[in-house]
C-alpha cells in the first residue's frame, strides 16, 4: 500500500486549500454538533431534574404536572402506601405539590415568559438533594415568601433576593435563591404549597412526589394505585417523567439539526470534491509513476480516499473544538410540554463527539470518492505524458 504519510503530507503541502476546505466542513460540523448539544442539554437538564428513587404521581392521562390535579383525599391514600420511604423525622418522605404557570417579565425587557411556580411541602427539599439554597433562607410556612431558582433570579424582573413579585393578588418577597444544580428547578419559583393554593384558588394538588423505600417496589405500587377505583392516578419514576417531557423538544431539535446540516453539508461536500479534483489534477504525473512502479488501482483509490477522509477529520475536529465552546453558553426556551421557560446549557457528550466525527468523515468520503475513482482509473501512459 502507498504509505499513509503520502496522503497526510499532501494535505500539509496544500495547507491553504486544506484549511479553506476543512474550514467549510468545520462550520457544518459546528452546526451539527451544536444542535445535538442543544438537544442533549435540554434532555440532560430535564432528566437530571428527576431522581431515580423518586416517584411522581399525577392524574391519569395528564401529560405533565401543569395539566394534573390530585385531590387531597387521593394524596392522602398515596401517602399511606407502604412503598413510601420514611424521613429521618419519622414522617413520610413525600411532598404534595402545586404547579402553576405564571407570566413574568424578563429583566431588561417587557417581554413576558411563563415560569413555573411550585408550591412545596416540608419534605420537598429533602426529596431533591441536588437543590441547594445558596442565598437567604427557605420561606416560612404560612408566609407570603418565596425562593427563586438561580436562573429566575438572574433573568426575571423581581426575581432577585429581597425583591417582590406580584401574583395571586398578593406580593411575594423573595427570601432566598436556590441552585438547582443545572436542572429544570433552576427555572422555578418555590413557595409554601398551602399559601399558593389559596392564592391561586386551587383546591387540588398538582402532584405527589415521594421517595421509594425500596427502589424496585415501583411496579407493585403502580399496579395497586392504578387498579384502585378511587384513584385515577398515574405513577412514574421521576427520571422517566422528565425524560418524557424532554422527548418532543429534543426530537424536534434533532430533526431540525439534521435537516439543516444535511443542506449545509452539500456545500461542504462539493467543496471537498473540488479540492480533491484539484489534488488529482495536480498529481497526474505522480499517479502515473505510482501505477507504473506497480501500485494497483485500489492503492491509488485508497490513498486519495484517505486524503479526503483526513480532510473531513480535520474539519470535524476543528468544528468540534469550536462547538465545545458552546458549553459556556446558557440559553432559555419554551418547554412545550409544560409551556414554561426552561434554561439549559449546550452539553457535549462522547456520543456527540463520535457522531460529529463520523459525520465529518462521511462528508470527506462523499466529497473524495469520485475524484479518487478518477485517479484510480487514470491511464498510465496518458498520466505520464501529462506530467
Amino acid at each position: 500500500m502507498i504509505p499513509v504519510s503520502y496522503s497526510f503530507r499532501n494535505l500539509w503541502t496544500r495547507r491553504f486549500t486544506t484549511c479553506m476546505t476543512a474550514g467549510g466542513m468545520a462550520l457544518v460540523v459546528f452546526v451539527f454538533a451544536s444542535v445535538l448539544m442543544l438537544a442533549e442539554g435540554l434532555k440532560k437538564t430535564l432528566i437530571d431534574t428527576g431522581s431515580p428513587d423518586n416517584v411522581i404521581v399525577i392524574r391519569g392521562s395528564a401529560g405533565s404536572e401543569v395539566q394534573s390535579g390530585v385531590e387531597r383525599a387521593q394524596a392522602g391514600i398515596v401517602e399511606s402506601q407502604p412503598e413510601v420511604a420514611m424521613g429521618s423525622d419519622g414522617s413520610p418522605l413525600l411532598a404534595k405539590e402545586l404547579v402553576v404557570l405564571y407570566s413574568l417579565n424578563k429583566r431588561g425587557s417587557d417581554k413576558p415568559a411563563n415560569v413555573v411556580i411550585r408550591g412545596i411541602g416540608h419534605q420537598s427539599l429533602a426529596l431533591r438533594p441536588q437543590v441547594r439554597l445558596v442565598q437567604g433562607r427557605m420561606p416560612k410556612p404560612g408566609a407570603t415568601e418565596i425562593v427563586a431558582g438561580s436562573s429566575i433570579a438572574r433573568r426575571f424582573q423581581g426575581g432577585g433576593i429581597g425583591e417582590t413579585l406580584r401574583f395571586g393578588m398578593r406580593n411575594w418577597t423573595v427570601v432566598g435563591i436556590f441552585d438547582g444544580g443545572a436542572t429544570g428547578f433552576d427555572s422555578e419559583i418555590w413557595g409554601d404549597v398551602d399559601q399558593l393554593m389559596q392564592a391561586f384558588r386551587r383546591p387540588v394538588y398538582s402532584s405527589v412526589i415521594f421517595r421509594l423505600a425500596d427502589s424496585s417496589a415501583l411496579d407493585r405500587f403502580k399496579e395497586r394505585i392504578e387498579s384502585d377505583p378511587r384513584l385515577n392516578l398515574d405513577a412514574r419514576r421521576e427520571t422517566k417523567y422528565y425524560s418524557d417531557q424532554s422527548q418532543a423538544m429534543a426530537t424536534f431539535l434533532r430533526i431540525l439539526g439534521v435537516a439543516l446540516t444535511t443542506i449545509f453539508s452539500l456545500g461542504a461536500m462539493i467543496g471537498a470534491m473540488i479540492t480533491m479534483y484539484a489534488a488529482v489534477a495536480n498529481r497526474v504525473g505522480e499517479i502515473g509513476a505510482l501505477r507504473a512502479i506497480g501500485f494497483q488501482r485500489r492503492s491509488i483509490l485508497a490513498a486519495f480516499l484517505l486524503e479526503a477522509l483526513f480532510l473531513g477529520l480535520i474539519g470535524g475536529g476543528a468544528g468540534l473544538f469550536l462547538a465545545s465552546f458552546m458549553q459556556l453558553v446558557t440559553i432559555s426556551t419554551m418547554n412545550w410540554q409544560t409551556f414554561s421557560e426552561l434554561a439549559f446549557s449546550f452539553t457535549l457528550t462522547p456520543e456527540i463527539c463520535i457522531k460529529s466525527l463520523i459525520f465529518s468523515v462521511v462528508m470527506g468520503f462523499v466529497g473524495g470518492v469520485i475524484p479518487a475513482i478518477r485517479a484510480a482509473r487514470m491511464n498510465i501512459v496518458t498520466a505520464l505524458r501529462e506530467s
Binding site: P3, G285, E286, I293
Partner: protein, 236 residues
C-alpha cells in the same frame, strides 16, 4: 549462426514478436508500430532512437507493461506479458521493471529514502530489509547523505539519481529509461549516463533507453532506430 555461437550469445530477456500498436485520433486509426519483432539479450544496454512520432516511447511502454499491444506477443523473462490481466501486470511490473522517467516523477512529499522505498512496499520484505536495500541503492547512486531530503531540495541530476535508485532497488529484470537525460544539463546528463553504464557493466542490468541525444546513445552497447513504426536498421 553455429551452435557454438548460439551458446556464447546471451539468451534474450525480452522477445517481441509481430508487435503492432495503433492509436485512435479523432476517429482515425493511426498505426504507431507495425509488426515489430526483435530480441534484447540479458545484460544488454539498448538505445532506441528515432524522430518524434516514430513509436520508440510506445515500444518502451509496451515492453514495460504500461501499455497494451494490438497484436503480437512480448515475452519478458519468459513471461508473455500480453496475456496478463491489468492487476497481474501491475504486480509483474513491481517485480520486474525499473522505471527512469525524463522528469524523474518522484513524489514531492516523500523524502529520497521514502521515494526509493516505494517499490519495496510491494514486496514481502521486512522494514529492516527494506531499510538496508534502500540504503544500498542510495549508496550506489552516491546519495546516501541525502536520504532525508525531499525532491524539491535536490538538483535535477540528484533527483534523477534518486529515480535510478528507485528503479534498481527491487533488483528488477529490466530497467526502462525514457529520455533520462532530457531534462538535465550536460554535466548532470554525463553523470547519469555514467551511472547507467556502471549499472549495466558492473551489475549486469538490462537497460532499454529511449533517447534523442546521440551522446546518450553512444553509452549504449546497441542502438536501434525506429522510423514510422518500423525498425529500419540492423543492430549496431
Amino acid at each position: 549462426m553455429t551452435d557454438a555461437e548460439a551458446l556464447s550469445t546471451p539468451s534474450p530477456i525480452v522477445r517481441l514478436r509481430n508487435v503492432s500498436k495503433s492509436y485512435r485520433r479523432g476517429g482515425q486509426i493511426v498505426p504507431v508500430l507495425e509488426e515489430i519483432s526483435f530480441d534484447i539479450a540479458e545484460g544488454e544496454f539498448l538505445a532506441l532512437m528515432g524522430p518524434s512520432g516514430s513509436g520508440k516511447s510506445t515500444l518502451l511502454n509496451l515492453i514495460a507493461g504500461i501499455d497494451s499491444v494490438d497484436n503480437g506477443a512480448i515475452m519478458v523473462g519468459g513471461v508473455d506479458i500480453t496475456t496478463l490481466s491489468e492487476s497481474e501486470l501491475a504486480a509483474w511490473r513491481g517485480l520486474n521493471v525499473g522505471f527512469i522517467f525524463q522528469f524523474y516523477n518522484l513524489i514531492p512529499v516523500l523524502t529520497a529514502f521514502e521515494n526509493v522505498e516505494l517499490p519495496l512496499l510491494l514486496t514481502r520484505l521486512s522494514r529492516k530489509e527494506r531499510r538496508e536495500h534502500v540504503a544500498l541503492a542510495l549508496r550506489i547512486v552516491g546519495l546516501d547523505d541525502r536520504m532525508d531530503h525531499r525532491p524539491g531540495q535536490l538538483s535535477g541530476g540528484q533527483q534523477q539519481r534518486v529515480a535510478i535508485a528507485r528503479a534498481v532497488v527491487s533488483d528488477p529484470t529490466i530497467l526502462v529509461a525514457d529520455e533520462p537525460t532530457g531534462d538535465l544539463d550536460r554535466k548532470a546528463a554525463e553523470e547519469i549516463l555514467h551511472l547507467m553504464d556502471r549499472l549495466n557493466r558492473e551489475s549486469g542490468k538490462t537497460i532499454i533507453m529511449v533517447t534523442h541525444d546521440p551522446r546518450a546513445a553512444e553509452k549504449a552497447r546497441t542502438i536501434r532506430h525506429l522510423e514510422k513504426g518500423f525498425l529500419n536498421d540492423v543492430p549496431s
